[in-house]
């Protein structure tokens, strides 16, 4: 099973689409709302160099993928789902 983390803000449309996609495919994920959690926001910026959401981190088979933005085709490839 892949471990999925999504950094989001409540007003981010693409974050909502990404979460809908995970729910639709039955993929569990952890959400971090960076608009309320400034510490996590800072960590995310340091880790990814990105000051924008969504950022999705997928840990699968010991490999970590950092995805900026929502690209359904790319997520399906990384997660290995149809």
């Amino acid at each position: 099973m892949a471990e999925v983390i999504i950094y989001s803000t409540p007003t981010c449309g693409f974050c909502t689409l990404a979460k809908d996609f995970f729910n639709e495919k039955g993929i569990e994920f952890k959400e971090i709302d960076v608009s309320v959690d400034q510490e996590e926001a800072q960590k995310m910026v340091e880790k990814t160099g990105q000051m924008g959401v969504p950022v999705i981190i997928i840990n699968k088979d010991g490999k970590e993928e950092v995805i900026v933005g929502f690209d359904q085709a790319q997520l399906m490839t990384i997660l290995g789902i149809e």
Binding site: T9, T11, C12, G13, F14, C15, T16, L17, D20, V34, S35, Q38, A41, V45, G49, Q50, M51, G52, V53, P54, V68, D71, Q72, A73, M76
Partner: protein
Amino acid sequence: MYDIIIIGGGPAAVAVGVYAARKKMKTAFVADQIGGQSIVSDGIENWIGEINIAGPILAKKLKDHIENYKDEIEMRFPARADKIEKNEDGTFSVFIGEEKLKTKTIVVCTGGRHRKLGVLGEEKFNGRGVVYCATCDAPFFKEKDVVVVGGGNSGLEAVVDLLKYADKIYLIARNGKLRGDSVTQEEIIDNEKVEIIYHSEVQEVLGDKMVEGVKIKNLDGDEKLIDVQGVFVEIGSVPNSEIVGELVDLDEWGNIKIDFKNQATSCEGVFAAGDVTDTIFRQNNIAVGDGIKALLSAYDFMKKN
């Protein structure tokens, strides 16, 4: 051989798809995303039939509507059409990677994308302080100083989004006045956090790892540096017309030229609707109506040929 291939996933494309299914046309719907540019909108108050609807909810409704016909039309989603060729017999080939789909007609509904500044530093700092979605990313700029570029509606709305977070917001307008709605103008114009700089353009985005400032230039050629940690770019959109660039006539901005009566392009059998066309008004409701016009025209064309 398809009767029709629809390229795109915004409101225009979904309208075409729903009508195509109901006309029982053999249809392929090729989209890498469904929902259109309003996905990023916090609340849409002019989508007719809804008093207020969030962008992602509208996107979901559009997706549900088109997927309701998934037994009638072939959903190629998520997929990206890479190339279109016109065949000698008047039909077309649409390529998704190596795969080739043949069709009698095409409706192009590929919409628009964010216009970039096209200045030094913009690409380097994309996601590192340069922002194209204010509603998404404003929370990162708590207690920071930012510039918003663009005096139209989206620029003013970005300022409103940022008021909750940023300490200081410079709004850079190219003209001597703002173009956005007067309701929104009133909301920001007297706010002490906001400073409006008219007749100016951004020349360069500066910084080391993250944005640290911008260089702006006014009409007289005077340059000025402003220290900011964020640059919000809201200067309109450009059409995603590259895929048919060699097939149909475009206007000087790259919009697909259409016949406003029937959405026909300069290439027989190819129709277009929504923000990718040279329509005067870029609106969700208009994209839907134009999409339906395009479909009905494509249907007539198919019957005649």
